[in-house]
């Protein structure tokens, strides 16, 4: 009865509804993808943040074997003397033949020659307890170059198979065959992580040392890459040394970092625009409430004079707008969910496998905005009705 009395003549504020829905939808999307973008790659990177891989620049003189592309102990000592360098260790390569193939009923057989590399564990940031190997173990943990996964997905697509994500790839069983031409051994292999920095499969150093000793075809493998950990804030000094001595680091991570930065800026811009649109929409809805109070001034005065508690009247207006805003928030969450699926699909098709789970932070944002709106409505309704009380 009270609702009929107070809301029967009110016009629906469709523009405010539309603005709220659009503002909330884009805000949720911006929050979600900002979080996902910032965490992209964080959980699968294997090298510590201050670690990079150095190699000598390969020019035509190197191809003609006039210039050296490998490092010797002198090179390592010179690098260790630089104050910006915290630690230097060689990246160890295999000097025997290695094949990797899928060993899973769910996937077609995929077989390829691969290279292995190993680095001391103090350069790695691997959380998996499986990242260990000792002589006698039949199972080898491996860290796969992300480019390798892209290549596998290309193969799967051409075979009419669905592509696999990082998470799914970590469930697939592989086999590694090592051979020196005379003897060979099979090992089961499992992916425990991915890397963007290395082009070869990363294996535990214990495995590399053992297999190099058993199957190695030369006495000593050449060191073509170094793992260098720089001291914080002293990268410039190291970079100067690199330029002067014809050394280079992989640029992919720099490129990914720059892309993340650009997309983050764009998402922040969308976030800001959404927030402005939402604040405006909330402002219009609060004005709609003031209009309702103004149109109902006579009814409210009579209700107050005939004994209806002001708290009941405030509650009716707050509940009315709370329900409307909750419905709009739900619609915006569904919209966010739909667009998120669409964007995830586009990313997936483009070979970018971000976490596709709904982010709980988005729901927290929705709850905070709803609470803020409810508070704004409550304060406006209380002020308006209290003013009528004595008028």
């Amino acid at each position: 009865m009270l609702k009929k009395l107070l809301f029967q003549t009110s016009k629906t504020p469709w523009i405010a509804y539309f603005g709220t829905w659009v503002g909330l939808s884009f805000l949720f999307l911006a929050v979600h993808f900002l979080l996902r973008l910032n965490s992209y790659g964080n959980d699968s990177e294997t090298l510590k943040s201050n670690v990079m891989i150095l190699q000598k620049k390969v020019g035509s003189s190197a191809t003609l074997q006039i210039a050296k592309t490998d490092f010797d102990e002198t090179d390592l000592e010179l690098l260790r003397e630089i104050s910006a360098v915290e630690a230097v260790e060689p990246v160890i390569n295999n000097n025997f033949r290695v094949w990797l193939e899928t060993n899973d009923r769910m996937l077609p057989v995929f077989k390829t020659d691969v290279f292995l590399q190993a680095v001391p564990s103090n350069f790695l940031d691997i959380q998996s307890p499986d990242w260990q190997w000792k002589i006698g173990d039949k199972k080898v943990p491996i860290i796969m170059p992300r480019d390798f996964l892209v290549m596998m997905n290309t193969f799967l697509s051409s075979s009419g198979m669905p592509q696999i994500s990082d998470e799914l790839a970590m469930q697939v069983n592989f086999k590694i065959r090592v051979s020196n031409g005379n003897q060979q051994t099979w090992y089961d292999a499992k992916i425990v992580g991915f890397t963007n920095e290395l082009a070869a499969l990363l294996v535990p150093k214990t495995f590399m040392d053992a297999t190099n000793e058993q199957y190695g075809q030369v006495q000593k493998t050449k060191i073509t890459q170094l793992m260098v950990a720089s001291k914080k804030g002293k990268f410039g000094e190291l970079e100067k040394y690199m330029n002067e001595n014809g050394l280079e680091a992989k640029k992919a991570q720099v490129l990914i970092g720059r892309l993340k930065s650009i997309v983050s800026t764009l998402l922040l811009l969308i976030f800001a625009i959404s927030l402005i649109a939402l604040v405006n929409a909330i402002f219009v809805m609060v004005q709609y409430l003031q209009l309702l109070l103004s149109r109902n001034a006579y009814n409210l005065k009579v209700l107050l004079r005939t004994g209806h508690p002001h708290t009941t009247l405030i509650r009716i207006f707050v509940t009315h707008l709370f329900v409307q805003f909750s419905i709009l928030s739900l619609l915006a969450l569904f919209t966010y969910f739909g667009i998120k699926i669409l964007i995830d699909t586009i990313f997936h098709q483009g070979g970018i496998y971000i976490n596709t789970d709904l982010s709980w932070e988005t729901f927290v944002v929705a709850f905070v905005i709803l609470a803020f709106f409810t508070l704004a409505v409550f304060l406006t309704a209380r002020k308006g009705i209290r003013q009528l009380f004595h008028s």
Partner: protein, 213 residues
């Protein structure tokens, strides 16, 4: 639950106050359970009196005490508790909802909580001769019919004080007497008191006190 007017002078009446008033600028106590008829000509502050007791205005000097508490210290909640169910009012401008039917006006008030049933309310309306207007929009009723509806609405709560501001101004003698009979019966049932403000002296009405405003 007494009402005490202590040296009250409403600001708008400062210049025109009746020096012989039993209420303004003197001490006047309304004792719980008693009936009062206050007579005043136009402009002497009948509506001001009602609005002071209703809590709508506090532009006065002096002290208004309700149940021993200074009304100026009342919170919003105190006033809400006073207006329903402790006091009940018939306003001069009636304060009905013209867009709602008679039934809806009654039901809206019954929702606040009372010992009166919907059937009882209907019987009171019938007694006052507007029983057949049950479904009619209140705004389409005559002033006399609206006045009777306002009286019935005011009788619904289990009030302690009933304050009536010129409740019979649009009623004929027969309906006035019927309304007064209903008011007295309901007030006795509630073991309450009433204050009736009227333009003219009402010698035919029984009351404990007849006062001048």
């Amino acid at each position: 639950m007494n009402i005490f007017f202590k040296q009250i002078i409403p600001h708008p009446l400062k210049e025109t106050i009746n020096p012989k008033s039993d209420i303004w600028n003197t001490n006047c106590e309304f004792n719980f359970g008693k009936s009062y008829i206050i007579n005043a000509t136009s402009g002497k502050g009948k509506t001001t009196f009602t609005h002071l007791l209703c809590g709508f205005r506090n532009d006065f000097s002096g002290t208004l005490e309700i149940n021993g508490k200074d009304a100026k210290s009342f919170t919003f909640q105190d006033w809400s508790d006073w207006r329903f169910p402790k006091a009940s009012f018939v306003f001069q401008d009636l304060q009905l909802f013209p867009q709602l039917s008679v039934e809806e006006n009654i039901k809206l008030h019954l929702k606040l909580g009372t010992n009166v049933s919907l059937e009882k309310a209907k019987s009171w309306l019938a007694f006052l001769g507007i029983g057949e207007k049950w479904q009619q929009k209140c705004g389409t009723l005559s002033m006399g019919q609206q006045q009777r509806l306002a009286i019935v609405r005011a009788l619904l709560p289990s009030y302690k004080w009933l304050i009536l501001d010129e409740p019979f101004s649009h009623l004929d003698k027969e309906n006035t007497l019927k309304a007064m009979q209903l008011i007295q019966e309901r007030t006795e049932e509630n073991k309450a008191g009433f204050i009736l403000l009227a333009l003219d002296p009402q010698p035919e009405f029984q009351a404990n006190f007849h006062l001048q405003l």
